[in-house]
Subunit: 163 residues, 2 copies
């Protein structure tokens, strides 16, 4: 399934370009440099990535080969996430692995592109590639979309404070 | 391509069951419990995994969710390898991720099965799954087979000392 529906401002678009991929798009009302900062500065990531839950950033080495590890303290328990950077090209592209402690050894590749829309806004595009369709479908049914919607609303607020 | 050629004792078999997989098989002249030990005890792994080069095992937590990291001191330089355990079922199965520092963020899934041949020998079967055919082909052309042949000859010697 590959769809390109009309996109409203701040709406999270989720599509499935291939059997092993998820593609998301979201527009933020901030210049690309600021969005880059919000995705790469640990102090800023801690303010939005955990959807309002406490987020402990144990490690975040934003460079090729560097590792990252976040621990989210959610009402239903503590969830660790980690991965490694494959590519870091400021201010436009990051490719990194993504793994949740609850399913250790199941690794997705997240390729993020930041597009400068030329009017002070930035489009974030992320394609996640999984080893199997089953892993991709598991991610889709995990509540991923609702979690991202919550996180990105928190990110809107962080970006608004910066301007 | 899927082939099942006749296998000589101690010959390393390498096949490609699908576009994103490599499958290897090798018979060792030792009981399954000993082969399991040689693959999971850090002190023993250090004696063979590095093909005769010095191998520093920085981390090896052989359990679901645990991490491993080896650093090989080879004549051409220092090479780090790391990953995480998805499944550990003694003495027959380990599934783990595999990543080389030289290509950070490129992750293969290695599923290893140890088969008790019933005559004091053990067949080791490992299937590696890659995210793309290009990554799989890169591994095939990296000298992987020669490296494994050397490592497994070193492992033969380690197993012989155990018996």
């Amino acid at each position: 399934m590959s769809t390109t529906p009309k996109q409203s401002p701040r709406e999270l678009m989720v599509t499935t370009p291939t059997d092993r991929e998820i593609h998301i798009e979201r527009v933020f009302d901030a210049p690309r440099e600021r969005v880059w900062q919000a995705f790469t500065d640990p102090k800023m990531v801690a303010q939005w990535w955990g959807r309002g839950n406490k987020l402990v950033i144990e490690c975040k080495e934003v460079e090729r080969g560097g590792h990252w590890r976040y621990v989210e303290h959610a009402p239903d328990g503590i969830h660790g996430f980690e991965g490694r950077y494959r590519e870091v090209t400021p201010p436009e592209r990051i490719v990194q692995t993504f793994e949740w402690d609850g399913m250790p050894g199941y690794v997705a590749i997240n390729s993020m592109q930041l597009e400068d829309l030329g009017d002070g806004r930035t489009k974030v595009m992320i394609t996640s590639l999984f080893h199997t369709k089953e892993e991709r479908d598991g991610m889709l049914s995990s509540g991923m979309k609702d979690g991202l919607i919550q996180s990105y609303i928190a990110l809107d607020a962080v970006l608004a404070k910066l301007s």
